[in-house]
Amino acid sequence: MKASAPIGIARARGGRALALGWLAAVAALAALGPLLPLAYAPAQPDLAHLATPPLAAGSAHWLGTDPSGRDVLAEMIFGARTAVGISLGAAVLATALGALLGGAAGFWRNHGWRVPWPAWAAALGAGWWALALPGAPAALVGAGLGLAGTLLGGPRWGRRWPVPLDAGVLGATALLGAVPRLVLVVALAGTLPLTPGGLLAVLVLTAWPGPARLVRAAMLRVTAQPFVAAARALGLPAGRVWWRQALPHACLPLRTAFPLSLASLLALESTLSFLGIGLPPEVPSWGHLLGTARTEPTAWWLVAAPGGALLFTILALQYLGRARGPGPAK
């Protein structure tokens, strides 16, 4: 055991360098794409070469072309920008949002977090006013009074009503999971077109329930562990216990889930493109490239290039995820 330790460390270092190297290369491609001397620009169809395999005679497409005649190499390199900017960004945001919401729901459950009634009144009044229901001005006044009461009175004001955090989060995840994307899109159809920021928001909105449920489930266990109880017994504020002790441990399952969520986000992004609210086809993306294999099932190069890039990214993230993070609960 001991004798093999240095070798193990060396291998781990090598693996880590490889993983970091790959991610750095993707980031570099994303940044430097426009400066590279490419034979073909992205989103330019070469109508003489449709769905040509890599290195075919008479074509200068090194990685072949897709069914619309776009150069796979150019799409891959420029697609790295989209992958880094949108897919990876959405994965990070969705995971963070999911971890926070799921962690809070699992920690406080339905009765742990109590809010004084003036705050409830403020929220109700604001909602009433926002919907322009009859008597909106009166509701606005009510909301103002409630807000003032919350700020001035603070914790001293009488009854505190619990916020059903757990039920809310569970309900939201169930709803988002059950509503098919197409129905959501129908509802969104009026608010087209989507900007990259809007697309990011849609991706995050549909992707956060997964991590949220994972973290919630883990949190249920963590809160039952002695070290959390001990921290509470010491009289530490609940928020601090949650943030410092409980959340880091509850987030452990995300180390595996995060890299995998990248794959599903790429798939989602190509679904959204199909529905007409995703990235337009002139924006190169790995997900879209992978999707073009649908019409050309024998074109292995359309799967190999983006699929390989995706696989290496997942493996690199997975490797880094396993190497870091808090140790086991003691």
Binding site: A43, Q44, P45, L47, A48, L50, A51, P67, S68, G69, R70, L182, V185, V186, A189, P193, S273, F274, L275, G276, P280, P281, E282, T292, T295, E296, P297, T298
Partner: protein, 584 residues
């Protein structure tokens, strides 16, 4: 446990593989990409439903695929046509004396009258028929001959005659045994307002029709067609069996439209193209109509497939075209539209997206229609230089900043200059349209025109086009060789409905109205040629090319009558032959 499972799976596998079938004398198995959904003869939601209904029921006239003309089916000859006054046409038919329903009742003029009235009864899913056949105002019986009748039609267009015989005749005795619809006048039913108080007899009839649930059980009423539906597994298989004694068997010589060769017709539903091609290769289907061009080329490239299959191509009536939103200020000028028309490269696009199998066109008329096709017009081609010249002529200027180039135009003094940018919509998921869009975008980008492509999901696509939320759209126009009625897509009266371009000038409206009313074929040809020239001049839409119709079938099948008309083959005429052994 696991071993047991594996062994049983293996056994299943072996049994299933060892079950070989001989193809000789087997049913003809035809591939469909979608389920017909409903076999209600009044509702035909898709091509599969139309084809299936044509096996169960017959029309007065139907298309003979060998000549591509309408030929008598239930009628014994083409109808006699008379014009009455200046707005009516009288079409007189005589039904075949031998024609009977299952069970032996003769097909009579009463059944035709009943069908026409049924298409106007409120509360039935007959809205499409109501709109299409509303021009038949009355039916007059011949007191001496229960098989002779005259249809009184509104209008005098030549196409009316063919259309007046193109609906499925249903049996009165099965759906309305008491003849409760007989007292009603066809014209009165036709004019019934949607808000009219409910009529108990009509309500009762509609209820009885709904109870029959023909959508799912079409066999509940007798048909006059050669086949009956014996099995229907939704989204999987439809099996039609030839009636052992069908009335038309006695006809000598058998008319081509009344041929019914296969003893059994199976329609197998396979939505995925790759799976469909494999099913054809394995012989589990024998006919693959409307093969996507790429799949067709792949099959043709395989030596094994060439030995097993025969390949047929013809030119379809599906036109791929681009349309402009002429309501947009930037596109209201025809010079701008003409300029943008020169940014499409139809020839290269045809070669790329249809493997060169279709045909480019100068207008909306089919290129094989030599009488009407405007062959004097030069074909459209990519010509950026002319596009630039035309844009300048239309008042646009190219401006350049450090980062980009764009075209602007001053519409009125003291208004901010207008920029030329285009939003292109097409149906998402169709590679051909994506390729066209990318080609147009690349050609426009070279001139400095910004083009945004917006593939849109099917239903949102329709509503976006209706709402005018586009600059350019790419689409398919399904046509036919029989009618030349361009009003629904280009008349100024249909702006907001079928006319998506918003185009319409008094001159073009007059021409569009005149074409269907032309009395002779020559005068119609003159008008059609004039129309094509006018469309080239105004260019509300850019016709790119007609798509090919590819059909792959087992080599041993004959009499497929492949052609551009939907569905592209004659299912009931197909015959098995013994394979011809090639002698080296």
């Amino acid at each position: 446990m696991v071993k047991l499972l594996l062994v049983s799976l293996l056994i299943v596998l072996l049994v299933s593989c060892s079950k070989r079938r001989t193809v000789e004398g087997q049913p003809v198995r035809i591939l469909w990409t979608r389920d017909p959904e409903s076999l209600d003869p009044l509702v035909t939601p898709n091509q599969s439903a139309i084809d299936a209904n044509n096996l169960l029921h017959l029309c007065l006239l139907s298309v003979d695929y060998s000549t591509k003309r309408y030929a008598p089916a239930l009628a014994d000859s083409l109808p006699k046509v008379q014009f009455a006054g200046d707005s009516l046409t009288l079409v007189t038919y005589h039904l075949r004396p031998t024609a009977t329903w299952d069970g032996g009742r003769p097909v009579l003029a009463r059944d035709v009258a009943f069908t026409l009235k049924l298409m106007q009864v409120p509360g039935l899913p007959n809205e499409a028929n109501k709109a299409q056949f509303g021009f038949i105002r009355d039916i007059r019986f011949d007191p001496t001959d229960p098989r002779r009748f005259t249809l009184v039609c509104n209008g005098q267009a030549p196409g009316l005659v063919q259309e007046s015989g193109d609906f499925l005749i249903l049996p009165e005795a099965a759906l309305d045994p008491k003849g409760s619809l007989r007292p009603y006048q066809l014209g009165a039913l036709n004019d019934r307002a949607a808000t009219a108080p409910a009529d108990s007899i009509l309500v009762k009839l509609a209820r009885r029709y709904a109870r029959a649930n023909l959508a799912l059980y079409p066999g509940r009423i007798p048909g006059s067609g050669p086949y009956q539906l014996v099995r229907w597994d939704k989204d999987h298989l439809l099996r039609f069996q030839r009636k052992p004694h069908w009335w038309a068997d006695a006809l000598r010589p058998a008319p081509p439209v009344l041929e019914a060769q296969p003893s059994e017709l199976d329609f197998v539903i396979i939505p995925n193209e790759a799976s469909a091609a494999l099913a054809l290769r394995r012989g589990s289907v024998n006919v693959y109509p409307q093969v996507p061009v790429r799949e067709f080329r792949r099959l043709q490239a395989s030596a094994a497939a060439r030995q097993q299959l025969a390949f047929y191509t013809s030119l379809s009536y599906d036109l791929v075209y681009a349309g402009f939103n002429t309501r947009r200020p930037a596109l209201s000028n025809r010079l701008t539209r003409q300029a943008l028309g020169f940014l499409f490269d139809p020839k290269a696009l045809l070669l790329a997206t249809q493997a060169g199998l279709g045909q480019c066109t100068v207008g909306l008329v089919h290129p094989t229609d030599t009488r009407n096709y405007a062959d004097s017009l030069p074909p459209l081609a990519l010509d950026p230089a002319r596009a630039v010249a035309l844009l300048r002529q239309a008042g646009w200027h190219r401006e350049s900043t450090a980062s980009d180039t764009f075209w602007t135009r001053q519409l009125a003094p003291k208004t901010p200059p207008q920029r030329l940018t285009l939003l292109v919509r097409y149906r998402a998921g169709e590679t051909a349209f994506e390729t066209i869009g990318l080609q147009f975008r690349a050609a426009a980008a070279r001139l400095g025109i910004a083009v945004e492509l917006r593939p849109t999901e099917n239903a949102s696509f329709s509503s976006a086009l209706q709402a005018g939320d586009f600059d350019v759209y790419l689409r398919l126009l399904k046509g036919n060789p029989f009618y030349f009625n361009f009003a629904p897509i280009l008349h100024s009266k249909t702006v907001g409905a079928g006319n998506l371009t918003g185009f319409g000038t008094p001159a073009s409206d007059r021409l569009i109205e005149a074409i269907p009313l032309a009395n002779t074929l020559d005068s119609r040809a003159r008008l059609l040629r004039k129309f094509q020239r006018l469309m080239r001049e105004e260019m509300p839409l850019v016709p790119l090319f007609f798509r090919p119709n590819c059909l792959a079938a087992d080599r041993r099948l004959v009499h497929l009558y492949p052609g551009g008309l939907k569905p592209g083959y004659a299912a009931a005429a197909i015959k098995w032959t013994t394979p011809v052994v090639a002698v080296p």
